[in-house]
Amino acid sequence: MAITAPLTSGAESNHSGSARRPAARVSVPAFLGLVPFAAYVLLFLALPTLLAVLSGFFTEDGTFTLDNLAALADPVILRAFANSIGLSLLTAVVGAVVGALACYAMLGLAEDGRVRGIVDGASGVLAQFGGVMLAFAFIATIGVQGLVTVWLRDTFGIDIFVNGAWIYDLPGLVLPYIYFQVPLMVITFMPAMAALRPQWAEANLTLGGSTGGFWLRIGIPVLAPSFAASLLLLFANAFSSYATAAALASQGSQIVPLQIRAALVSETVLGRENLAGTLALGMVVIMAIVMWGYSIIQRRAARWQR
């Protein structure tokens, strides 16, 4: 049995014996094939995560301490966490509702059709690869010289920035975030929507139910877990997002990722050591809770997607 180094190096090795054997009989060389990948993941995923999370527990000279955790009770930091959670919650809810509506509209369209193709492609780009570029899109739209800003000002005499340029502050993040949350909802919720069986609608009709009754008694209860799971995913997505905010918010560090930036750039924000590590720990804890809830709900939701 010889799926050994060849898998990674492409080199030849002994090829004695037939290929099919019970999986239990694993030779030592085959195991070696896993080593390069395992080493890579340990070095660039496990190690940085541990370093990030654990650095909050140590002082600059390397002694263990819990003092840094006190930073999480600092009013500035609490405010950042509250802002992050509020922003994520708001954009997740709006994104989930609008995205679910878009999925509903696409029900019945052929999966290989042109509309689905364009929507899938556009959703992928906006939900997953936008980042900084979405910030620029919104500067062009509702920036001080943006298309919509100028149009509202010249046509209706409405100055949307009468109370200051909020686009560069926390409220300015809401629209860009919704702009990548809705496409993500389309990507994650469409499979659940598409798994609704036409037969259920037929059965409902045969038994004398109405279309409204179908959604009320069958459609919505079946989709509820998927919707909740997608909502959590959207929350996690907004919560961990950094690029759009970094490119847009120039005034202060209103959300946690921007606080981490500030802490990384200057080592002693708020006069605390290893603040970045403490903040990272806080983020990881919240992400873990959200993703744990996601996996539990999703397991339930999957019952209907077989």
Partner: protein, 293 residues
Amino acid sequence: MSARLGPGRTARTVIGVVIGGLFAIPIIAMVEFTLRDGDGHSLAHWAALFDPENARQYAPIWLGLGNSLVLAVVAIGIVLLLLAPTMILITLRFPRLRRAFEFVVLLPISIPAIVLVVGLAPIYLVIGRTFGTGIWSLAFAYGITVLPYAYRAIQGSIDATDVRTLAEAARSLGAGWGAVLTRVLAPNLRPGLLAAALISVAVVLGEFTIASLLGRQNLQTALVVVSKQDTYAAIIVSLLALVFAFVLLVVIRLAGRTQGSAPRTARRAATAPSARAESPSDPSDPSRKGNNT
């Protein structure tokens, strides 16, 4: 039949036009913005961007683009030479490890890039001292951020191919493992490998967080730098990059569809980067989350 579940033609059109229209506004605004010229419109800003005379002014963009392309190539290398062979090895020899493996490769989705970068900073300090500060080393971090997407694309093709039988047939005909991998399995897994490579390009071209906080220059950090002096150029390049990523994803979709013999699952998995969600075999797959870092 499913039309009965969906909305009527009118409702569909109304919802589509309203949501689609709202989502088109920022893109239209970008186009309009780049065409501004005094009180009118012209292609002046587009011409300026590509005018050799302004090469110095826009140098960061071209440098960043070049760096991003290098990073994309190295990241593709990691996906094709490290991830894909490992996945095949898992399929052939360690099927019981599959769940654990999947958990690991999907993990980057739950760990925000901004958290990862806190831990990557000291690691790259060491790497910088040992190997120098060449841009390519950043691709090791990008390989991690690409993992969930690439995994999904490749796994879709593996699930749609009888990898075991193919490998055994080739082996019994005397092929060495190198030949099995490159001449038997790789061609059969091509849609998944292609999709994984293209998604890696899209992810790497859009990455900002890690490069920016590790002080490296890539396309996205260059956009932010240039935008401070010339918003027009930054928006033009953003627009082009978004369109390019869109084309990539559509190509992935089409490439997935041409795999005529493969079951639907593979086709889906290879199309949208997050379409793996449709695979009922893995309900707890959190990999649909975006990566808007």
